[in-house]
């Protein structure tokens, strides 16, 4: 009788908590707690500390080549550790005040060396040591992929081959998170989901702010010569510390949103990072859920780990899951973006991006014309916290110009090993990493823009391209200054997708674009 009464009280409190969740952003949340799977991996019960070391390699700690970036990344180890410790030591009431201020202070003045997260959250680790194994191992993958991309002296091909080996090294351990895309709406659909971000929005903002940093950096580094990486961080680091840490988002930043080029090349790594960040969110929510008992919290954390483990999804393939939508094995992804699971409201390539509104990822973000196939077309624009794929340099320039603040344009040139990096200042004045860069812009039909709007590393490269394309025989090379003066505005082909924000059902403008 007593057990029945307790069960009734527990179920009632869960139901009430769901009903009372004042976030109001979770229309498809389940009302029942997930149950423990029968095939929970045995290592979760292992009492050993079982620390794993990173792959020994010459590139380790290459991140220190950009000290402010390294330190900001080291600082990210502090946030969750401090918040988790506060949550398990009865200091929830201080999260939005004292704990927020402490984390914020560390993020603004980050440590010069990596921080041992377990040392900062000893109570949490005593309770959830198995979770720390998953986090630690994934964080090592985070750092080592960055180190490879920042390692001088290796070609892009060598770096990409090594990242593939790193993925194998990572995946060989039982703590590895799956590289399959997972349905984010499903992973955020449990009775406790959204609790942390609703109750502690400021601290959650910091978490998602540094998840932004952890995901935006890959396109800063990917196929960009090491000498051209640091200048970009002056823009991104400033954006991180002044804006992104305090931005109120609808959903966590996704790797493919922030680093689309890297995510296309290594979709499994992008997916693993998103699944890792979602596991962080799940754990935040479980710890913040007042109605759960300690035993329930332990169980739900284990189940949350199970959901994203590589071993759970053995035998499944990316893109599968149409027959089981919105479930554990829904591994569908947008056609154009294999490095992202399905999001709330997503229809194939059309998704809602926080701050941008509804975007079709298969088309140019500026002119809405489909992006060509291939991994290295056109350009990307990073500005105001977002990164977008565009078809050509003209679209990149004009899109950057219409966005307040500094911007970074990364674009292909005729030389696959030389990525053009243009950085604008507050007035929109561009500087280039290639001193002799020349541009082709022979304005014509927009669907062919990627043919007549291009960058070249030298005048001779421009001349050769023109010789090979007789239609452009009359074209003149443009210097950076001359090219930067042009602005053709928003193309007629641009189509805004006007739908309500799926995370905020009330009418909104749907985003800035």
């Amino acid at each position: 009788m007593r057990n029945t009464l307790l069960l009734f009280v527990a179920l009632t409190s869960v139901t009430m908590a769901v009903a009372q969740d004042h976030g109001g952003h979770q229309p498809t949340r389940s009302g029942t707690l997930p149950t423990m799977p029968s095939d929970l991996p045995r290592w979760i019960s292992s009492p050993g500390a079982d620390h794993l070391f990173y792959k020994a390699a010459p590139y380790n700690w290459a991140i220190e080549r950009i000290p402010p970036f390294a330190q900001d990344m080291y600082g990210t180890g502090v946030g969750h550790a401090m918040a988790y410790e506060a949550l398990v030591t009865g200091r929830k009431a201080q999260l939005e005040t004292k704990v927020f201020e402490t984390i914020d202070r560390v993020l603004q003045k980050p440590p010069r060396i990596p921080v041992d997260e377990a040392a900062l959250s000893p109570t949490f680790v005593r309770k959830y040591g198995y979770l720390e194994k998953v986090f630690d191992w994934a964080h090592i993958l985070h750092f080592q992929t960055i180190d490879v991309l920042m390692h001088p002296g290796w070609s892009d091909a060598q770096k990409e081959a090594e990242i593939q080996r790193l993925w194998s090294f990572y995946s060989a351990q039982p703590y590895a998170i799956t590289g399959l895309p997972m349905n984010m709406e499903y992973l955020d659909s449990f009775p406790f989901s959204g609790r942390f971000r609703s109750n502690y929005p400021k601290v959650n903002g910091l978490f998602w702010g540094y998840h932004w940093l952890q995901t935006v950096n890959y396109d800063m580094l990917f196929r960009v010569p090491v000498q051209d990486q640091a200048a970009q961080y002056s823009v991104l680091g400033s954006q991180y510390r002044t804006t992104e840490l305090y931005r109120m988002r609808d959903f966590m930043p996704m790797t493919a949103e922030m680093s689309p080029r890297f995510s296309k090349r290594f979709p499994m790594i992008a997916n693993a990072f998103d699944n890792l960040h979602m596991l962080h969110d799940n754990v935040n929510d479980i710890l913040a859920a007042e109605e759960l008992t300690e035993k329930q919290r332990q169980e739900q954390v284990k189940i949350a780990i199970y959901r994203v483990l590589s071993s759970t999804h053995k035998g499944h393939e990316p893109g599968s899951g149409e027959d089981v939508p919105g479930s554990l094995h829904d591994h569908r992804h947008p056609t154009s973006t294999p490095g992202m699971g399905f999001m709330r409201g997503m229809e194939d390539d059309v998704m809602y991006m926080s701050g941008m509104g509804w975007m079709d990822m298969s088309v140019c973000a500026h002119c809405s014309i489909p992006l060509p196939d291939g991994p290295m077309w056109g350009a990307t624009v990073t500005a105001d916290g977002w990164t977008m794929l565009v078809r050509c340099l003209m679209c990149a320039r004009d899109m950057a110009a219409e966005t307040p603040g500094r911007a970074i344009i990364r674009a292909a040139t005729e030389d696959p090993s030389r990525i053009l990096v243009l950085i604008s200042d507050e007035e929109g004045i561009l500087t280039s990493n290639i001193p002799g860069v020349v541009f082709l812009e022979e304005f014509g039909e927009h669907p062919e823009c990627s043919a007549w709007s291009r960058a070249f590393t030298s005048k001779s490269a421009f001349d050769q391209f023109v010789r090979e394309n007789p239609d452009l025989a009359q074209s003149k090379p443009l210097t950076l200054d001359a090219w930067a003066q042009i602005n053709r505005g928003t193309p007629d082909t641009y189509r805004k997708i006007d739908r309500p924000n799926p995370y905020r059902p009330e009418p909104t403008t749907g985003g800035s674009r």
Partner: protein
């Protein structure tokens, strides 16, 4: 001394680093271990200069160096050397070669402490050394308060050599204490302290009590500098020897 500075400079220039100021190994700088091994596949190199002073004899200099390898999860093996130089007889000694095995049995879980043990075998390679020395150490680590930890080390040492006026088997107990300094704004320094009682090999003496204090300072992404001082404070039979031992060391993982 010049040699030491040359070695230290070379180590500081190492490219790939490991080791953490929070994880304590015996000799770096005090004599206790915590209950955690180095990571699986980690290699660590620990070296340190020691200066032992004695009330009734001249100082002795030592250079302890140890290489460790995490060959399995929560387990590591190591080999150590401790050459020394005594000013009283102006002689250097290669010292014993020490082989070690560490097994971290369990981490701290809820209120249960972390447990580990280590075995050290000292090979008689030093001047005048006889027999093989074996030390078995049981280790317990438990958090006290928010971040501080105590580390209980229980030792049994035995030698295969029977030497007149020396005990063949001795025991020891050390209570170590670690406290991170600078939280929650700095994360690179740990205070270490210990109280230790060790049974003397010399049958004319009994238990010797000592205290120690030190700092472990992270100096690179995975490298640590340590400083420590130890002193005997009492002896259950006879008067305290008042020896003071200084240690300065450097650890790097790769």
């Amino acid at each position: 001394m010049r040699l030491i500075s040359v070695i230290a400079t070379g180590l500081l220039a190492s490219v790939v680093l490991a080791v953490d100021h929070n994880n304590v190994d015996s000799g770096r700088p005090l004599r206790f271990d915590d209950a955690y091994s180095i990571a699986y596949r980690e290699r660590a190199f620990e070296t340190g200069f020691t200066l032992d002073t004695f009330r009734r004899s001249s100082p002795k200099y030592g250079l302890k160096t140890e290489y460790k390898y995490g060959f399995a999860k929560s387990q590591d093996i190591g080999i150590g050397f401790e050459p020394s130089y005594s000013t009283s007889n102006r002689r250097g000694d290669f010292g014993n070669v020490e082989l070690s095995y560490f097994n971290g049995l369990r981490r701290e879980i809820d209120d249960q402490p972390a447990l580990a043990y280590r075995l050290d075998v000292g090979l008689p390679t030093g001047t005048g050394s006889k027999g093989v020395e074996v030390r078995a150490r049981g280790i317990l680590t438990k958090t006290v308060g928010q971040y501080d930890k105590i580390h209980l080390n229980l030792d049994v040492m035995t030698s295969t050599a029977r030497i007149m006026d020396e005990r063949q088997t001795t025991a020891g107990i050390t209570v170590g204490y670690t406290k991170p300094l600078g939280y929650p704004t700095q994360f690179d320094r740990t205070l270490v302290a210990q109280f230790s009682m060790e049974q003397s090999r010399d049958r004319s003496r009994d238990w010797v009590g000592s205290v120690g204090l030190g700092i472990r300072q992270q100096v690179g992404v995975r490298s640590v500098l340590d400083f420590g001082i130890e002193s005997d404070v009492f002896e259950t039979k006879g008067r305290a020897k008042s020896s003071v031992r200084f240690a300065i060391g450097y650890s790097v993982g790769f």
